[in-house]
């Protein structure tokens, strides 16, 4: 039986599963990363994804177009992010409290709104909604193995990987990105160089909201084609955790996100195998976050002890 599982892990089907599961986590990760590199810890990714997932499905239902759904999701995501800046920068509240509040009531608000539209509290199954499909890339799709990996993926998965590259270019190769990173590394230095720190932080949070929203939209419009209660289930937090592990390193950010997705896929295989208690198996991805974070902090602790850490 264990052989079975190991065999599955090394199969193509499993790889494709990881790619599908990685999309929302990577969206969440780059969302957390852009905000963090500008000096703002965005821990509201999870709730933004929830709002966006619901907004996307409702947008798609009302307009009859999946793309309009994505746009509505993105707008809602960015507005939620800007709401945080409004409360923290304009009204002077502690941004972390706002974000905790958002996370706390996100699920409940989503269900409340869902109920208004469908009369149900569990899912949007009764709404006739449109969803985005997959993209087949000509020529490539006929190449064995490569074709399976690079062709036939969900639309927003392609958008995700394009954004991974674009975000890197903007952050590390353009003046805007350099200024944003400067705000995160030493806001006073950025300020005295004549940079409007507050404006850039708002922008970075809006971008963060945009990425998180795409992650939410992927779940409801592209991948599951339906909104269900609690569907984000910690994927936003995994993005936040990946950002914590990356500690400013973009490559390790993406790698961490992929590792988390791997464990999510593993947990799905185990849970389809009835001989394991499902609750325990369902905990695998979260346990992996816990264990990886612990290992990373222990390693960092000893690096500091040995005096090997450079000044940021």
């Amino acid at each position: 039986m264990l052989n079975n599982i190991i065999e599955t892990i090394f199969s193509m089907r499993f790889l494709l599963q990881v790619i599908r599961l990685a999309t929302p986590i990577i969206f969440a990760s780059i969302g957390a990363f852009v905000a963090a590199s500008c000096g703002i810890g965005n821990i509201a990714i999870e709730s933004i994804m929830t709002f966006a997932a619901l907004a996307g499905i409702i947008g798609s239902y009302l307009s009859g177009s999946a793309w309009v759904g994505v746009i509505v999701a993105v707008i809602v995501g960015m507005l939620t992010a800007l709401l945080i800046t409004f409360f923290s920068m304009r009204l002077g509240a502690d941004p972390f409290l706002i974000m905790i509040a958002l996370n706390t009531f996100a699920d409940a608000v989503a269900i409340f709104i869902l109920f208004q539209f469908t009369g149900e509290k569990g899912s949007s199954a009764s709404l006739a909604t449109k969803s985005l499909g997959v993209i087949d890339i000509p020529i490539i799709k006929d190449i064995p193995i490569i074709g399976e990996i690079f062709s036939g993926q969900y639309v927003l998965t392609y958008v995700c990987w394009i954004l991974v590259i674009l975000t890197f270019i903007v952050l590390y190769k353009t003046p805007l990105g350099m200024r944003m990173r400067a705000c995160g590394l030493n806001a006073d230095a950025a300020k005295t160089a004549g940079i409007n720190v507050e404006r850039l932080q708002k922008l970075s949070l809006a971008l963060s909201g945009l990425f998180a929203a795409l992650g939410g939209a992927y779940l409801s419009i592209n991948y599951l084609k339906i909104f269900t209660k609690g569907m984000v289930s910690g994927q936003g937090w995994m993005g936040v955790a990946a950002n914590g592990i990356a500690n400013g390193n973009y490559l390790s950010l993406i790698l961490s996100a992929i590792i988390f997705s791997f464990f999510r896929a593993v947990s799905i295989i185990f849970s389809s195998n009835s001989s394991f208690p499902t609750d325990l198996v369902g905990a695998i991805p979260y346990l992996s976050v816990f264990i990886i974070l612990t290992v990373v902090s222990i390693v960092n602790y000893y690096r500091i002890k040995r005096g090997k850490v450079e000044e940021q």
Partner: protein
């Protein structure tokens, strides 16, 4: 006939809480001069500079720059107008390269990308033009303090600053580095730049300035040509009385049986695979002040952290405080065996700014029996103790219940010194005890340190301020590159430039010679 570049007319700044930082300041700066602005902490120099640089707006009065009224909304406007400022605390990003730090905010681009080649070329040319001897592709985190300052100056030159404000630029430099900086400032002057120089160090002000403006309590005490002022007159203008700077005459010489307050043996520590403390051995006897001179970043900080117990990196060697081996002691235990500590970063490590002065005055010995009754604190006694300390240390405040944040830098330092003084410890580490505070408070702190010394405390004085080290110390060691590079048995026989040579590594004593630091 010289042309006026900057003119202040009746500039007044009143903060929303009613504090008057500047009142009716009138000053005139001419193109191509080095013009110093001096005054005590809290006299209003910084506020004035912030107004010139656009960070603050004057409440009334006008600032005229190049013949036009300057209404800067932010430092961006000031930078565009051609004003540059080198802040006392460097505004650099250590993990960025020199180039990136310089171009930040005004990046050369090729389509939407930063043009790194162009940027590097421009910065290198600029550095070479002024003989800064920098490799502009290096990361700032790898640079010495003096080089970081050069980067700060390059930042202003890159933005074509005509008027450069330097806020306490020499506070982190050795005499030789200061000399070099002054040469460069003179070069800038030749090329028509105007320099506003802010400093506490009056010798330096006298050395470099064409003109000197004095501010006291927010009010201008006039602008003078350098040559028409003597040192005594200048001091008198700044603090309103004469200064008493000869500390030696206050020292008494009692015998404390050569007992050692601190003994450090073969201390060794690595960071980034490089030794930052390399076999350090010395002792501080009771009733003496041992001065540690050195350019910042040569191991002094790590040394202090090892002794106080703040260091997290592993090290080898032995540390004894009043005869107890304290390597495995936590900070509280070290204090219990007789350590007191005046930290360099007073706002972060020295006080809790949001709490009242009274709480801060007992925070390192709050478990002492006279103020701590088994369950509750004896608030009455604490009030007594703190009122007393506020009085004897002349902390400028209405009440000991006020928050520490409401005090000026010099007064915060007095709170820290008062607290540590009141521990009656036999060993004290004073780390940059007068860094960035005015000469009046400085004098006061010095007197208190001497008083503790006379009462039999051993004091380890770590300071980047050479005058302070030379004035206060009985013996001196110089740290360079993690080692004790020089040891002087009698601080009175040391000459400043000689000390500077050791600080820069140009001279170095043998192990036998520096061994006296432990054994004398």
């Amino acid at each position: 006939m010289k042309e006026t570049i900057l003119k202040l007319d009746n500039v007044t700044k009143v903060y929303p809480n009613g504090t008057v930082a500047n009142r009716d300041i009138n000053m005139e700066f001419e193109k191509g001069e080095i013009h110093s602005v001096v005054g005590e902490n809290g006299a209003g120099k910084s506020t004035l500079m912030k107004m010139i640089f656009g960070i603050e707006k004057p409440s009334s009065g006008t600032i005229t720059y190049k013949g036009q009224e300057a209404k800067f909304n932010s430092s961006m406007d000031a930078i565009h107008a051609g004003i540059g400022m080198v802040h006392q605390h460097f505004m650099l990003i250590p993990s960025f390269s020199i180039v990136d730090n310089i171009i930040l905010g005004d990046e050369p681009t090729k389509s939407i990308f930063i043009d790194q080649n162009e940027a590097t070329k421009k910065c290198q040319e600029l550095s070479d033009k002024y003989d800064f001897e920098l490799d502009v592709t290096a990361k700032v985190s790898t640079l010495s303090v003096a080089k970081r300052q050069k980067v700060e100056i390059l930042k202003t030159l890159y933005r074509d600053a005509e008027l450069i404000i330097l806020d306490e630029p020499t506070s982190v430099l050795t005499p030789q580095e200061t000399e070099k900086l002054f040469d460069q400032l003179r070069q800038f002057k030749q090329q028509g730049h105007t320099i506003i120089f802010i400093s506490h160090k009056l010798e330096e002000v006298k050395k470099i300035s064409d003109k000197i403006s004095v501010i006291r309590n927010g009010v201008s005490k006039g602008t003078y040509l350098n040559e028409e002022l003597t040192m005594e007159q200048l001091t008198n203008l700044i603090i309103g009385r004469d200064l008493d700077s000869d500390m030696d005459k206050y020292k008494t010489h009692e015998d404390f049986n050569n007992e050692k307050a601190l003994e450090v043996k073969n201390l060794y520590m690595e960071k980034n695979n490089k030794p930052v403390l390399d076999n350090i051995s010395f002792a501080v006897k009771k009733g003496e002040i041992l001065g540690v001179a050195g350019v910042e970043g040569n191991g002094q900080q790590e040394l202090v952290k090892c002794i106080t117990g703040l260091e997290e990196t592993a090290y080898t060697g032995d540390i004894f405080i009043c005869g107890n081996r304290v390597n495995d002691f936590n900070i509280k235990k070290r204090r219990d065996v007789g350590m007191a500590y005046i930290p360099e970063d007073r706002m972060n490590d020295g006080v809790a700014g949001e709490l009242p002065i009274s709480d801060n005055l007992i925070s390192t010995y709050y478990t002492r029996e006279d103020i701590n009754k088994k369950v509750f604190m004896d608030t009455k006694k604490i009030d007594e103790v703190s009122e007393e300390l506020v009085k004897t240390f002349a902390v400028k405040t209405k009440t000991a219940k006020a928050n520490v944040n409401s005090l000026s830098g010099g007064n915060v330092q007095k709170v820290v010194v008062a607290r540590e003084y009141n521990t009656n410890s036999k060993f004290m580490i004073a780390e940059q005890p007068t860094h960035g505070i005015d000469i009046g408070s400085e004098e006061f702190v010095h007197h208190k340190l001497i008083e503790m010394r006379n009462a039999g405390a051993g004091i380890l004085l770590v300071s980047a301020n050479l005058n302070e080290v030379m004035n206060l110390s009985d013996r001196i060691i110089v740290m360079f590159d993690g080692k004790i590079a020089g040891y002087f048995k009698d601080a009175n026989d040391v000459d400043e430039s000689d000390l500077g040579m050791y600080m820069l590594g140009a001279k170095r004593q043998s192990i036998e010679e520096t061994g006296g630091a432990l054994n004398d």
